[in-house]
């Protein structure tokens, strides 16, 4: 289904849609409150943007530096051209370790690569240890938001799921009670897993280390209890120097949730004695995006989700309406690069209001890229019906006479047509809105009568 169809369905449950909108707006407000405590906020954004621009301009150099330094630290570095290779690499490591159960902390990259179904088909139990991820895993749903994966669910929904899966009391919606149940359940899984998989928020070329940011400490818990740690990162998750990290850590949590910093910022540099540490560098279309000049800087994204929280469309249609791994405004400029046809309605799921661009901590010009994708999509689609009407419009607007005649005809016909035609259910404007009251004459006619200078 297209985005408009999904959004229409989402909005049918008015109370729930309003709750979703309000919930995410609260996150946006928390973000606003915290950024105003940082007088240098806009300079931080500019600095972060420049660091990322610089890194992307020398991505090959910094990736090789990362590989060299990480290898020297004892990390086993792997390169994956695409999702399939990424999954194969992990599959092979697990086979070597004879591992049948893994724990995973939140990683949108592994969602992008569809790692869970890949492993499950091979008889490996995958347990997502982030609370929100675990909840949606019980429902066999993908995340609806990249930072708050279960944001589409209410407390009562979670209570029902836990009652079924974890045998909690029916109807008990107390978050402390429910979290405690999840904690007990996950503790067992942590203790059993020999291999832990994590994502990567920032990899530092200079030192060959990487940083994982979580609020629940689940990445650390998994990694420290397991013998093998596999970290997966998109090749854009790179920064040149350790001293650059502070810029991004200050921006990330504030933009994401309004916290001044994530609770756990875990640095991984070398494997513990007797253990293994793997780092998989994944391309999966990123170099293609890098080659598209207009869309290159979408790769600056640090996955804070602020553009989703602020987007009036995301808030009123939900993450699933986009049908892509990364939803919302940033997803709508990343996804068409992966599959232009499949995601062709996403760049149009925006009023181009520009709020996403102004909240973005690394200053990605998201709404301008949405506009640019529209141009690409219509070119790829050739002359569709909309294209023809637009060509016709250009013809009308190029000629003052044609414009005058069509304007007059429009005003005249709108006046004579019965309301049943104008407010036909097929007329999308008239479904929920009236048309403006029609004046007897256009400004142009008035001007000719009232000003004699021409």
């Amino acid at each position: 289904m297209s985005h408009p169809q999904n959004a229409t369905v989402f909005l049918k449950d008015k109370a729930r849609a309003k709750w979703h909108d309000d919930t995410l707006w609260i996150v946006r407000e928390k973000r606003d409150a915290t950024i105003h405590l940082i007088p240098e906020w806009e300079q931080l954004r500019e600095l972060a943007s420049q660091i990322k621009d610089h890194t992307l301009s020398k991505l090959d150099y910094y990736l090789e530096e990362l590989e060299k330094n990480a290898t020297a630290n004892g990390i086993k570095v792997h390169w994956a051209e695409n999702a399939e290779e990424h999954n194969q690499i992990i599959g092979k490591i697990l086979e070597e370790k004879k591992c049948k159960a893994i724990v995973k902390s939140k990683s949108i990259l592994t969602e992008e690569c569809h790692l869970n179904p890949f492993l499950e088909e091979r008889g490996i139990e995958v347990v997502d240890t982030d609370l929100g991820e675990r909840i949606i895993q019980f429902l066999k749903q993908p995340p609806s938001h990249i930072v708050m994966p279960a944001i589409h669910l209410k407390k009562s929904d979670i209570s029902d799921i836990f009652h079924e899966k974890l045998h909690t009391e029916k109807g008990n919606v107390d978050p402390v009670y429910l979290t405690h149940a999840a904690r007990q359940h996950l503790r067992e899984k942590f203790l059993q897993a020999k291999v832990a998989i994590t994502g990567v928020n920032f990899a530092i070329a200079e030192t060959g280390e990487f940083v994982v940011c979580t609020n629940e400490g689940n990445a650390d818990m998994g990694v420290h209890l397991a013998d093998t740690h596999i970290a997966c990162m998109g090749i854009e998750k790179l920064i040149p120097r350790r001293k650059d990290l502070g810029v991004f850590l200050r921006l990330l949590a504030r933009s994401a949730t309004g916290q001044s910093i994530t609770n756990y910022n875990s640095h991984f540099r070398s494997p513990s004695p007797g253990k293994e540490l793997h780092l998989i560098l994944v391309n999966n279309g990123r170099t293609k995006q890098l080659a598209r000049e207009k869309f290159r800087n979408s790769l600056k994204c640090i996955r804070c989700g602020a553009c989703m929280n602020t987007c009036p469309i995301y808030r009123r249609s939900g993450g699933f309406s986009y049908g892509s791994t990364v939803p919302g405004p940033i997803g709508s400029i990343l996804s068409p690069g992966i599959d232009l046809k499949k995601y062709s309605t996403l760049p149009f799921a925006s009023t181009l209001c520009g709020s996403c661009t102004d909240v973005c901590p690394v200053k990605i010009n998201i709404h301008e890229q949405l506009y640019e994708w529209r141009q690409e999509i219509t070119k790829a689609q050739g002359s569709s019906l909309k294209g023809l009407s637009m060509k016709l419009a250009n013809g009308i607007f190029t000629s003052p006479l044609a414009y005058k005649i069509s304007g007059k005809m429009m005003r005249a016909s709108l006046k004579t047509l019965p309301n049943s035609v104008i407010y036909n259910p097929l007329n999308a404007w008239g479904k929920g809105r009236n048309l403006p009251e029609l004046p007897t004459e256009s400004f142009k006619d008035w001007y000719k009568k009232n000003r004699n200078e021409q």
């Binding site: 469309i313 009123r316 181009l352 709020s355 219509t378 607007f397 404007w429 006619d445 000719k448 000003r451």
Partner: protein, 253 residues
Amino acid sequence: MKNNPRPHIGLFIPCYIDQFYPNVAIATLELLEKLGCKVTYPLGQTCCGQPMSNAGFESDSEGTTSKFISDFAHFDYIVAPSGSCVLHVKKHSPKVEKLKKNQEHVQSNIYELSEFITDVLKIDSIKGSFPHKIGFHASCHGLRGLRLASDSELNEPKFNKTLQLMKDLEGMEIVELTRKDECCGFGGTFAVTEEAISVQMGKDRIADHVDKGVEIIVGGDMSCIMHMQGIATRDKDNVQLMHFAEILNRVIS
């Protein structure tokens, strides 16, 4: 102002204002004249091409853009009562190579009405009386595109060029909104292609004003106002919508 002691202003009236809202165009013209400007409305003008470009047909709007440049290039300034259309001409209209110099002139001398009055005419505020409780609708293209006001996303000093002009109006109360600059959901073809969300956004925006007892929602873009007015009329909301040019032209002595 420019070297010319009384610069010549080309009045750009967006096509839907010409057809649906002649009173807003008249108010704009009269206001500029009352402020001492020499204003001409080029009769051949049609549309800036924005509807086509935003729908993804920027390349098809070259003819419309060339026409716009030819109509307006000989003026010192171009002024329009619409942030959205001005933004389009300034930033998004396709480059027309053979009219390069004229296009550059047009793009660097086109202004939205309130920014023209504050930034070019250097008028701080308009004096008069308007005893009403108003809410301000900050249209996105004017707000985040032309930066006619500070927005809620950035950490920057607060300003608002349109409200600055209205700040001294006697008896007028400006209501603080809960979501001070959320989009109304018009978005050009978005209003039709994403009808459900578009209407919901409009309803939400109006409710924010109505809940606070706003009598008149004041804005600077008739496209947003047309959309919200359409919903307010349908839903029988007890609120009026107006372009700020109509208010300023009415109160100015």
